[in-house]
Symmetry: C2
Subunit: 640 residues, 2 copies
């Protein structure tokens, strides 16, 4: 409506007043049009998200639990994508072929960054129009055109895939790291690491090999377009899980926290593993392989890539997290919560950027930065900053997550590089299921050999069932769509994501029932919430949770290091370093201990010394607030 | 350090293992390099902001008040900009000139969106290298090259100016709207509107005319490059004020709230006015003017543009704000604070996007959306969402504001299109000061003729003194730097911004002393905070503040409309519409009144019915919290 008013107004101005210089206005109008299309695209997604939020409110209000917001976002996305595809007008990109000017000297082996183009110069413009002045225009490099015939780019509701890795994924992954239920995470560390590291690699290998076999059985045209590296890449990108819906139902129904920790911890870490793994496979392809075949030296190089990039990214993230903890411990910046929150956000973002600048993986760095921030820095923050950072990242995570699922839906129809290949899609569905099974059952068997409370069979089934695919798989698939093989992978990945999120997510409650997994573990949840209230951390972390389940060996080693060195160094936790370090280190220890750490027993208002077992996933409650209000806050919207 | 490790590792892999296909790797390395440069640029700003935060903490800790964080951000920016300029290596853009392929048919009057370029094809590549396969690359349209000789673009710490209008300014402006101290804002509405609307236009005109005169007196080469429209544009862009530093000192020293409201209100609105005004001048240039001279019809058209775009943008923003209020009133989405906050953010962002899609001004829409959100929606939100939205935008505003000031500093040295012209700079400083004087003194005189408590002379001096220039001026100046005249304007604007923020900002405390403006108005501040605690809004707004100063006539009309129609319609405030609307409207009124509105007297815990006089600028305190904690929160970092 407004648009028409403005349009009429402009038309009126135009007709009555002016006839300016033609090209300038046309060019201006073109720039405006492009900006408007960009804004319109964003507006579509904003409206879709608004719609999702409102519908989800209705669902929550009416206690509908078979559809999570991500599932709804996908469905709305699909509907709107179909409408845009079949009803919208197209905005094609105009293009012409050019040659260098005669006599140009240029002696680099890469194409130039920019072309300068005289227009219209020698081009035959339709006669009758007023003559157009010659001008020089700049054109900047975009990329290689593989299929010259098929390069009509639509400006319809699509974005540069790199925004996922630089804008959408970082807050999601950081939030995941910042939210790890730490007590149970560290208690199940062995199982989580096994599933995430070994399991993901195994799953990628199995899926890659099976897909390669399937592809060989298919029509020859298809078989020839896939190399083993391609299918292995597919295996790597389809392996990470994203069980948002399942986890939301878990926390709603209060399912066993160990199972929750295993599923959540695995899904957080396998994103990172898959990202680095797929990067290593891609590097192998461009750097080490001459013909797409297998070479032992290249294989070792790719494994070196994987280990090097993963561990260095981890290091960058963890160091930035610890640096933030040190700053927040030794300065009194927490007297100004806004400054403190800004510092927290800036340092976390710096971890991402440093990793990217060093050609490492920013998303992995941000994950481990988030874990360190939650484990150390969070304890030093003022209560205002705790709420602020938690709420900020919760909101960012909510928006980013739903945006990506909406985009998966919309892009099914609008992304121009889809390639529907029924055989590949069917094979993809079957192998990705098999890959998940290979990830869970054999490894659970091996883990149970050494684990004190073994993983029960119904838990294993639930782990298998929680293999929903999500944001990371999609982002990896859409990153590279140059060949037909890659396009078929994108289509298959999109369909697997949509199917698992909507169908598996919707059936999660029934699966819990069917597998007879106990729900409503009020007592268990209670014992987790308890330390939050009464612990003043006078008991060292290592000995504090004897009452809970058995701890994994790995967790015990880590716990000792953590409670004796890292926590006293990076937070205000007791015992101070002066008590835990050997005698000859005392002078250094004294330097690194704050007076707060010696005297904190007196402080009753600020819970800066909160225990690492604090579950920051809980609805945050200021420590001295009346119980009635806290009940009201508790009724609010918990963690996704 | 990490970088070297990675580099060595890669080098090792390279040397020992592979020699892949040359161009692919070179191209890949180039893409990686560009991404790394982008990340590095962002990292520089992130580190600068971190440094600013830490230094400001030290300053606050040591009670240094002569330097605000924006001033510090500028200074750090200048230092780092100088280092990058004189120490950093350059990354020049390579370019070649191209012609269309023979036989190309193309008959549009605008240049094509994309060029396709075969490389290397006929280009003479240095012999001796291995032959490079021919490939086709895509190049996308960037813009006109005005000065063909001088188009070396550095990739050094500069960003596309449009990010200011689409990413940096919206949260700043929204926050300003969301934070208006509403009681005093509406009480001084007449003065604020006069200064912001009439004053800014007057100031732009005076500065434009004076600058044109000055330019004519200068050497001929300079005089010929400036048209009257150019200097008028300069007048428009240098007129908006941004007295962040002054306002921070005001709230620290508790200066008279009416003066605070006038300065803050004016600075918020004149940004919007200047933005639309400069847009209208630019439109005049491209649409209505044939030779840069004056035409009465074009002038009227430009005025029509100004009024049309401003009021339509206002309408879009206000409607979106009211729509959010309606949704939050009639649904129970506030039971899930995360959904509610997400809805709030999405709707506010939609206001920006809708305005941009309609070729209106998104920033203006977002401003009025923010005002409506604060005036209506805020009262419907759950207390969790109130904190969350307030803290979110406070943080975004803090980061965006300091980013832009850092960028002003850095770009002084790194932006390639600066043009230092001493005469123009001196003239700019003098005329911008005169323009501010013309804005304040004559209009204050006129206002005092009708105003009950007149604006005292020392308040007028303070208004004059608060004419710091800031983010909006800079963003407008850097938006268009095609001609030498525009480049001189950018340089002058940058210098005026830096000088006023650092020097005038630093001298603000002394100016308050010198002008004998009373500080420490504890009682006045108290009377403002009072309604926040005890009003349950049972008294209609129109009659509730007889104790304060006299209200402007405009404010009274608005107040009546607001309290009888808008507030009861959009919020849960009393009296309900059933009491304020005429009898024949009762059925509609009953439909639009919630049961909550009838029964709210019983509700003692939730202050959803809070008065419009609520100053959301105060540190937020949950209503039922113990006094000791609230004192602790109060000591936190208040509003900037």
């Amino acid at each position: 409506m407004n648009r028409n008013v403005v349009f009429t107004f402009f038309l009126f101005c135009f007709v009555t007043i002016c006839r300016g210089s033609g090209t300038d206005i046309a060019l201006d109008a073109k720039a405006t049009l492009l900006h408007r299309i960009d804004s319109l695209n964003l507006l579509i997604y904003t409206c879709l998200l608004t719609l999702t939020v409102l519908t989800i409110w209705v669902f929550k209000h009416r206690r509908v639990s078979w559809l999570h917001e991500t599932g709804l976002a996908v469905i709305y996305g699909l509907i709107v994508g179909a409408i845009i595809r079949y009803a919208g007008s197209t905005n094609h990109i105009t293009h012409i072929n050019v040659n260098p000017e005669p006599g140009t000297t240029y002696n680099l082996s890469v194409p130039p960054d920019m072309l300068r183009f005289h227009f219209p110069a020698s081009l035959p413009i339709t006669p009758g129009d007023s003559p157009i002045a010659n001008k020089t225009y700049a054109y900047s490099f975009r990329g290689e055109i593989v299929n010259v015939e098929q390069n009509e780019i639509d400006l319809k509701a699509t974005f540069d895939p790199e925004i996922f890795f630089n804008i959408i994924l970082p807050p999601i992954i950081f939030h995941a790291g910042y939210c790890l239920k730490r007590k149970y995470f560290f208690r199940n560390l062995g199982a989580i690491l096994t599933f995430a590291m070994v399991g993901t690699a195994l799953s990628a290998l199995v899926i890659g090999a099976l897909m390669y076999g399937c592809v060989q059985l298919m029509p020859a045209s298809l078989a020839s377009s896939f190399t083993f590296l391609d299918t292995l890449y597919f295996g790597a990108l389809i392996s990470p899980t994203d069980p948002l819906t399942v986890l939301a139902i878990f926390s709603q129904l209060k399912v066993d926290v160990n199972l929750y920790a295993m599923i959540f911890g695995e899904s957080v870490l396998n994103d990172a593993v898959a990202l680095v793994l797929s990067g290593a496979i891609q590097n192998y392809e461009t750097r080490y392989s001459h013909d797409g075949g297998f070479e032992i030296s290249g294989f070792l190089g790719a494994i070196g890539d994987f280990i090097g990039i993963f561990s260095l990214s981890l290091l960058v993230g963890a160091l930035m997290g610890c640096l933030t903890a040190l700053i927040s411990k030794f300065t009194h910046v927490r007297d100004w919560p806004l400054l403190e929150s800004a510092l927290f956000v800036l340092m976390s973002y710096a971890a991402f950027l440093i990793a990217e600048v060093c050609e490492l993986t920013g998303v992995v760095a941000v994950l481990f930065c988030g874990i360190c921030q939650a484990h150390y820095t969070y304890n030093n923050l003022s209560s205002d900053s705790r709420n602020r950072t938690k709420q900020l990242f919760e909101l960012l995570n909510f928006l980013a997550e739903n945006f990506i699922f909406t985009y998966i839906g919309v892009s099914m129809f609008t992304f121009p590089k889809h390639h529907f290949d029924p055989w590949f899609i069917i094979a993809g569905f079957i192998t990705s299921m098999l890959g998940r099974a290979v990830n869970i059952y054999p490894l659970s068997f091996l883990l149970n050999l050494g684990r004190k409370p073994p993983i029960p069979v119904n838990f294993q089934h639930m782990l298998f069932f929680s293999g929903l695919r999500g944001a990371m798989s999609f982002a990896l698939a859409i990153r590279n769509t140059v060949s037909e093989a890659r396009q078929a992978m994108l289509t298959t990945t999109s369909m697997i994501v949509i199917a698992t999120v909507v169908l598996q997510g919707g059936a999660a409650t029934h699966a819990l029932d069917y597998l007879r997994i106990p729900t409503g573990q009020g007592s268990n949840e209670e014992s987790e919430a308890l330390p939050y209230r009464d612990v003043r951390s006078d008991t060292p972390r290592g000995g504090g949770d004897a009452g809970g389940g058995q701890k994994a060996r790995l967790a015990r080693v880590w716990g000792a290091l953590d409670s004796r060195l890292l926590k006293p160094l990076l937070t205000h936790a007791r015992p101070p370093l002066t008590e835990t370090l050997p005698a000859f280190m005392r002078p250094v220890a004294r330097l690194l201990t704050t007076t707060h750490q010696y005297t904190q027993g007196d402080n009753t208002l600020r819970r800066t010394d909160s225990d690492s077992d604090l579950c920051i996933d809980d609805p945050q409650i200021p420590s001295s607030i009346d119980p009635q209000l806290s009940i009201n806050i508790r009724n609010g919207y918990g963690h996704v």
